[in-house]
Amino acid sequence: MHEIRNFSIIAHIDHGKSTLADRMIQKTGLVDERKFRDQILDTMDIERERGITIKSQAITLPYTNDENKEFELNLIDTPGHVDFSYEVSRALASCEGVLLLIDASQGVEAQTLANLFAAMEHDLEIIPVINKIDLPSADIDRVKEQIEIDLGLDSDLAVLCSAKDGTGIEDVLEAITKHIPPPKGRADEPLTALIFDAHYDPFRGTVVSCRIFSGKIRPGDTMRLMSNNATYKVEEVGVFRLTREPRDSLSAGEVGYILAGIKNVSDTKIGDTITLHSKPAAKPLPGFKKVKPVVFSSIYPVASDEYQSLVDALEKYKLNDAALVYQKDSSAALGMGFRCGFLGLLHLEIVQERLEREFGQSIIMTSPTVQYRFLLTNGETITIDNPIYYPDPVTIQKSFEPYIKASIYTPERYMGAIMDLCSERRGTNSKFHCPTPGRLEIQFDMPLAEVIYDFYDRLKTVTQGYGSFDYDLLDYRENDLVKLDILLNGEKVDALAQIVHRDRARTRALVACERLKEEIPRHLFKIAIQGAIGGTIIARSTISPFRKDVTAKCYGGDITRKRKLLEKQKKGKKRMKMIGSVSIPQSAFVAVLKSDSK
């Protein structure tokens, strides 16, 4: 018989999580060298390109340790971005231990800390793993010191490795078998299984990834989702190798998948508990919550006759992304489309990229916004996630916007730059903490709206890549919020409107006008871009018309060349949105939020 170990890897982006996972898969002989594809756990192109893992997934690794004991090691992969912190928490809840992966040259980062605290909350055994020890800039002693002082962990437990060249992988596997406790829970109790992931298989429907805490599940059982009491007939259970491997059953302690003819991924909720209909558990596993979108944006087809195609694409996309919510929407400027809610900016970008790349859609996304609340003079409170629905200003008694606690982890020398950035983004109530000499953790209360666009990019810029950032939603706070309208040649473009703080309205309007000036190509006509609050123009910029572009010669061979160029330009123009007589490129709708300092 084999023993089971369930573990996850916590790491900052770029600290080498995927490479380590790959090495472990290789070392345990799950795949031979020839078939080995780099970074197996990241199966989607976008993730591969960005070097981050978005959807959590699991893999079961067979391993015999140096005491000749046989193990099944279940590696549960976690998403590595702040947008997906709830998914991370559910993945962690499915483990008994984690590998805390730290880059030997970069040291501990804020995001790692956030996930580490989550792991501590779940009482998980933590094994520090110092990676990239082959780098010339590796400073193992300093990282060990951080582990002791900053994290309060025993640095003697730390395993040294280089996932890139394969050094120390055996030590990592041994440490897992020796330091992470085996799962508890009995197979003869009622079934409780925690859903930590779900993805869509076009042939089999939803593939539910889960950790069995107690009981047993077999094909033929009728399972029940405890959040909504929906029942499904179990068709297949098994574990994840490189592909799905069916088993007769899954029992307490095991990690695997369930197929039960569930049509939509959104029918299953991450964090929900599965039990058996015939012998249900008394209560679900703790920690279930519905994931709520925090960032909103509208999606429109570039050409209005592509609306139906967008409808189909969104339906298909949604099969595999339970976190995306959307509903029909329409804009005077952009026509029919969808208002969508996302977990965060990264999530938004992933949706945009996948719709374009995998589903061949040509879409316009409007600038992202958060959910605002308004207390009206009639006592009613309304919540809006789209500037179009900003209420008549005379009816507004109070306005509120969501705040976050932003944690920034940075080398000390960037403190000034970060303070500037955060106060520019309306950060208040700053707190400092100095975990190790030379490193600084800064916390701010900040409006969520201020970080949803390019805060992270800006932070990276002002800290030359060293700063990292994590956030938690705090609460709603009262602020003076106004609607900033953008007019093109005197015509209001609803899709370009934003809700902004009154004190920042002029700055934001100027930025928006400048950005649009850069994004919109010159036309034959002058284009006036104006920012306005109510009827008052507070910013403007002008795109001067081009006045000469004609090429001198057009004889035999030039004609074909010229026509081909025109055909190309015509195609390019089709991808732009005509508003009045102005052609606006897709990028302009999001660019209005970009800050100016590069």
Binding site: L524, F525, K548, D549, V550, A552, G556, T560, Q569
Partner: protein, 369 residues
């Protein structure tokens, strides 16, 4: 206007000019072989075209050929193709080739129109442009041509390059009109990729004029020549009157059929555009091997034809027939808007570009189709 035109591309030059993207080689060694191959090429098209009413020898530098070679070519051409009685017969000439004898023999060979590559009357500009002749040679050539009785002389000029002042350019124009040419082609310098200028520009070693300077030069050219009795009938072309418009070149702009012979020459007939291989050597090899020297062709769809009609039409004074533009719901508003903004006029169902329209003729079609 619907009779076809015949174009012969003579792919030889004494030396390559740094701005010129037309295909030619700066060597005389292949001339004889090419002449033989050319004879072969003619045989492929005998009887395929109606009577031509224009013949145009361009290049390259046709006058780089010896008179006897030109005579041989003309004989072949007139033997195998039919021409209308009043055919416009043009040769592009380089002032440095035009000795009195050669100038005279052009008349004997049957040419009735000369397009003289003067480019500039400023010697420093001529050397910037890599021309081997002086302004004196150009003037002498113009006087000689007149004295031998040429009544249709076109002067080709280039302007709008770095360092050139508007005064310098107008000075060149003034000297040009002193010879009362029937036709003027004034080409604003385009930096073409596959030329020496193109390579220099890529390396940042040229400073082409900005858009505003180009615009001012263009308008000044148009104004000056208009004031001196020329009509601006195409972006870069001016003529004393309607009958002196280049009949041959107009065929390119109105989808009239034309046959192009010689390396890299283009032909157009029945919605098909075809081009010859752009290499003298390959051209000869193919013909010697019994094959037509075709480099490629395209069959234009209705949509492509109409896109070309719009884009070419907007480059000429005649403009285009409103009915030739595919209907779209925005068209009428856009036409009115463009008319109000002074880019075009709509008269008798024709869209006529204004000079302001000429200036933006590259993008104007995008607003209509």
């Amino acid at each position: 206007m619907s009779s076809p035109g015949l174009y012969i591309h003579v792919p030889f030059c004494r030396s390559k000019c740094p701005y010129c993207a037309f295909y030619s080689i700066a060597s005389a060694s292949l001339i004889l072989r090419w002449l033989n191959a050319f004879r072969e090429e003619i045989s492929y098209y005998k009887g395929h075209f109606d009577e031509f009413d224009s013949l145009y020898l361009g290049g390259g530098t046709p006058t780089f050929l010896e008179v006897r070679d030109l005579a041989g070519m003309m004989e072949q051409i007139f033997t195998h193709f039919d021409f209308a009685r009043d055919t416009e017969i043009t040769i592009e000439a380089n002032p440095c080739d035009l000795t009195r004898e050669k100038a005279k023999s052009l008349m004997d060979l049957g040419f009735n129109r000369i397009s003289l590559g003067v480019q500039s009357f400023e010697d420093n500009e001529l050397s910037f442009l890599g021309r081997r002749h002086t302004s004196m040679q150009s003037k002498k050539a113009l006087m000689d041509l007149r004295s031998f009785g040429f009544e249709n002389i076109g002067v080709d000029l280039i302007y709008g390059f770095e360092g050139q002042t508007l005064e310098g350019w107008v000075k060149t124009l003034k000297q040009a009109i002193e010879f009362k040419p029937e036709h003027l082609s004034c080409y604003q310098l385009t930096i073409e990729k596959k030329t020496l200028f193109g390579r220099l520009n890529e390396k940042g070693m040229l400073t082409p004029p900005d858009e505003e300077k180009e615009r001012i030069f263009f308008l000044a050219t148009s104004n000056f020549l208009k004031d001196h009795g020329y009509m601006h009938y195409e972006i870069s072309n001016f003529a004393r009157n309607d009958s002196l418009i280049s009949r041959h070149n107009c065929k390119y702009w109105h989808h009239v059929p034309y046959l192009g012979l010689g390396p890299s020459a283009h032909s157009f007939q029945n919605s098909t555009r075809r081009w010859n291989i752009g290499s003298v050597k390959k051209y000869c090899e193919m013909l010697e091997g019994g094959r037509a020297p075709i480099g490629g062709y395209e069959n234009l769809t209705e949509e492509q034809l109409s896109l070309e009609k719009v884009s070419l039409g907007l480059r000429t004074k005649q403009g285009l027939d409103l009915k030739k533009i595919p209907r779209n719901p925005e068209l009428n508003n856009m036409l009115l808007r463009l008319q109000d903004s002074g880019f075009l006029k709509i008269i008798n169902d024709r869209i006529l570009p204004t000079r302001k329209g000429f200036l933006v003729a590259d993008s104007l079609p995008l607003y209509l189709v």
